[in-house]
């Protein structure tokens, strides 16, 4: 290729997005959420007005009593037991049942963020209801005999607000958006309508108490989830797919096509996910342009950034500074780093993908890193591993060492064989001037990858041509389960040949290198995280009843 792909392609792209023009996938606040937020604000204005003056309270109460008068004045003997039962179930049982089912379901399906948002939603609903009820001090309907269960002031209705909130949050937490959530919302509407009617029939709430409660119950979780767990970034999926993988059809697929054309001059004909099983930190894509040329792209979103932060925090707590790295502050930084590392590795003579450029999908939230597609390449675990391939793999590590680099994620999914070439991909974790320990682990991981499709004796023999026996001994002294990427760890376990132990037998004896690194920072962080978790659990347990879960 005479020119780089970057130069070749960017010539056809627009110079820049004109000021004021929206990005390919603008961050949009859901219109439905805006409508409910507006309704909530409307109620807030009414509450403030009622707080400041008796006149609106009188007018609203008179209208309320006019509306509910025909209902309470015509209570039917055959209907009353059912209405009382619905009032009792809705007030005491429904919210804990729905809330706990949703919470356990979210944790079992690993939607931890959604589980936290469910609890926060209920806490905020309880907080709003508490604040408003104590300011408005509205009694139960006057002139009406209450025949149902109730507690405290009436406006807004606490049980209606909490049950609505639990149902809406459960839908947002557990139900896939297409096509089921629509049905969930319809069922929720019917349930709340029936419960609301029972509240009026039993005389415990005014109509406006029910409507205000329902508004709070819908608006709080809807807005919270839309802002902190938007469906586009944190979709609810089942069936074994990684939560890291984003849907590239619909608006995002259109945005990718538009962005590729505008920013790289590539007219995209097809975008499909590829190699999802080997990727957990991004959504890898195969992009075909109208001329049939194929490109590879990794889609990074803020969900990946947060996963990366959680992963690093967990590693720091469990092992100290095992990864020798800081978290990324933004998706932009994350993708810039990977793009930069591709250039650095290629400059060091390491055969990784040629970068084509970064494509902005949503500013600061979603980017594509576009590279060449390794046509015809297969993962090393599916290829024949010859002596030449083994030598190339070991030479790759030698080059990394020589250039002062570490790949840090050497596993079968990232070592590709294209014809007779061995190529390394996914350099997101690569590091300049890593610790000697980290470089040693790279060597051990590469030798394990190569040995999975050959023999440890052959790999060890070939390694001695490039590394000293002491280097290899240090590599395996530094390696153990946690230093192996999870795919490699799993493959080694299933291989059954005890590869790690065999390499240790082949190499000179050396004491294991300690992984645990204790520092004041780690101790402080552990104590801090422990305190926060204990505090949050204590608050949660102490307020189970208040947020409707008990």
């Amino acid at each position: 290729m005479s020119e780089t792909l970057v130069a070749d392609r960017s010539r056809h792209g627009r110079l820049r997005r004109p000021s004021g023009e929206p990005p390919p996938l603008p961050r949009q606040f859901n219109k439905v959420a805006i409508a409910w937020l507006a309704a909530f604000v409307g109620w807030a204005i009414v509450w403030a007005w009622v707080f400041l003056s008796d006149d609106p309270a009188i007018w609203i109460t008179e209208r309320d009593l006019e509306l509910m008068g025909p209902i309470v004045d015509n209570r039917a003997g055959w209907l009353t037991p059912s209405m009382k039962a619905i009032n009792e179930i809705g007030t005491h049982w429904a919210t804990p049942i729905v809330g706990w089912l949703a919470l356990v379901g979210a944790l079992l399906s690993k939607h931890v963020r959604h589980a936290v948002l469910l609890i926060v939603s209920l806490a905020i609903i309880a907080g709003v209801v508490t604040i408003v009820t104590t300011q408005i001090d509205r009694p139960r309907p006057l002139g009406v005999t209450q025949i149902g269960d109730w507690e405290g002031f009436a406006q807004p209705s606490r049980p209606v607000a909490l049950l609505t909130g639990a149902l809406v949050a459960a839908g947002l937490t557990l139900v896939p958006s297409v096509p089921w959530r629509r049905y969930w919302y319809r069922a929720t509407t019917v349930l709340i309508a029936v419960f609301g009617f029972a509240q009026l029939y039993t005389g415990v709430d005014h109509p406006t108490d029910v409507f205000a409660g329902a508004t709070v119950g819908v608006a709080v979780p809807l807005v919270l989830y839309r802002v902190l767990a938007p469906e586009m970034v944190f979709p609810i999926t089942y069936g074994g797919g990684s939560t890291a993988h984003l849907d590239v059809t619909g608006p995002r697929g259109d945005a990718i096509r538009r962005a590729m054309a505008d920013q790289l001059g590539v007219q995209v004909a097809d975008v499909t996910p590829v190699g999802l099983e080997g990727s957990a930190g991004s959504t890898p894509l195969r992009i075909v342009d109208v001329a049939g040329e194929v490109l590879f792209a990794k889609l990074y979103a803020s969900s990946h950034l947060r996963s990366d932060r959680s992963y690093k925090l967990g590693r720091t707590l469990l092992y100290g500074r095992l990864e020798d790295e800081q978290r990324y502050s933004s998706v932009r930084r994350l993708i810039q780093h990977e793009d930069y590392m591709l250039y650095v590795l290629r400059a060091a003579g390491i055969d990784c993908q040629e970068p084509c450029g970064i494509v902005e999908i949503t500013p600061d939230r979603e980017y594509l890193l576009v590279t060449e597609f390794l046509e015809g390449a297969v993962e090393i675990s599916e290829a024949e591993v010859t002596e030449e391939i083994i030598d190339e793999g070991l030479e790759l590590v030698r080059k990394l060492w020589r250039a002062g680099l570490a790949h840090r994620d050497i596993k079968p999914a990232n070592v590709m064989v294209q014809g007779d070439r061995l190529r390394i991909i996914d350099v997101a974790f690569a590091q300049v001037r890593p610790s000697p320990w980290r470089q040693a682990v790279d060597l051990a991981n590469m030798m394990l990858v190569l040995a999975l499709r050959s023999s440890p004796e052959l790999v060890y023999e070939r390694a001695l041509r490039l590394f000293t026996a002491d280097d290899i001994a240090e590599a395996f002294a530094a390696s153990r389960g946690v230093t192996l990427p999870s795919q490699l760890r799993s493959d080694v376990r299933h291989d059954g040949r005890q590869l790690l132990e065999r390499f240790r037998e082949l190499s000179p004896e050396r004491a294991p290198v300690a992984i645990q690194r204790w520092s004041l920072r780690r101790i402080g962080l552990t104590v801090w995280v422990g305190l926060i978790v204990a505090f949050l659990i204590a608050i949660f347990v102490d307020n189970l009843s208040d947020i409707g879960l008990l």
């Binding site: 309880a126 508490t130 001090d137 009694p139 139960r140 507690e151 405290g152 002031f153």
Partner: protein, 186 residues
């Protein structure tokens, strides 16, 4: 607007949002005090009256004596329960229950300050800790003021509470509603 300023604005909004959420969550954490006690000059008097619809008299609290504070207030269809803490007599040292009926047991009648209300007292024990009940009985309802002091706390602490429980008649409450709110009654 530059991206940096745009981002800064988003961060500020996020901080304000987070702070608001924390405040609301904190409010939720103190939800047990969501209902104020039935005060003689406001509070939850109306719903306390609704909690015992048969009662002709509704209990209400004057200002608490020094050292006493309201712990929890629960008002529902079964009645009203107010728990009080004392810095000397202990946590939940006094509990007021407003219900339709109460079991007077071995309590003896004593003079009452309110015409329509009869008073009965029963001292269960003085040592090792003071435990006693005062009953206020009236048409359609009853108020029990139960003392359960910590060991060593003086029984005289209960005397301070004698004067803070007052009563307002349902008729007066209804007249007040008609005059200042709407033409309805409890």
């Amino acid at each position: 607007m530059s991206t940096r300023r745009h981002l800064a604005r988003h961060r500020r909004l996020a901080r304000v949002g987070a702070a608001s959420a924390v405040l609301l969550v904190a409010a939720a954490c103190s939800v047990e005090l969501a209902t104020p006690p039935p005060g003689c000059a406001g509070g939850s008097g109306l719903i306390a009256a609704q909690s015992v619809p048969t009662a002709e008299q509704i209990p209400c609290f004057e200002d608490l004596p020094e050292g006493w504070s309201f712990a929890t207030v629960n008002v529902n269809q079964n009645g009203t329960v107010v728990r009080l803490d004392s810095d000397r007599a202990g946590t939940t040292a006094a509990t007021l229950r407003f219900e339709e009926n109460c079991d007077l047991g071995a309590a003896v009648a004593v003079p009452s300050n309110v015409d329509e209300v009869e008073r009965f007292d029963f001292i269960e024990r003085l040592e090792p800790s003071f435990r006693a009940q005062t009953y206020y009985v009236f048409d359609g309802g009853c108020v029990t003021l139960e003392f359960d002091f910590d060991r060593g706390a003086s029984a005289t602490e209960s005397v301070a509470l004698d004067d803070i429980v007052a009563f307002v008649s349902r008729q007066d409450l209804n007249e007040s509603i008609r005059e200042s709110f709407i033409d309805e009654e409890l």
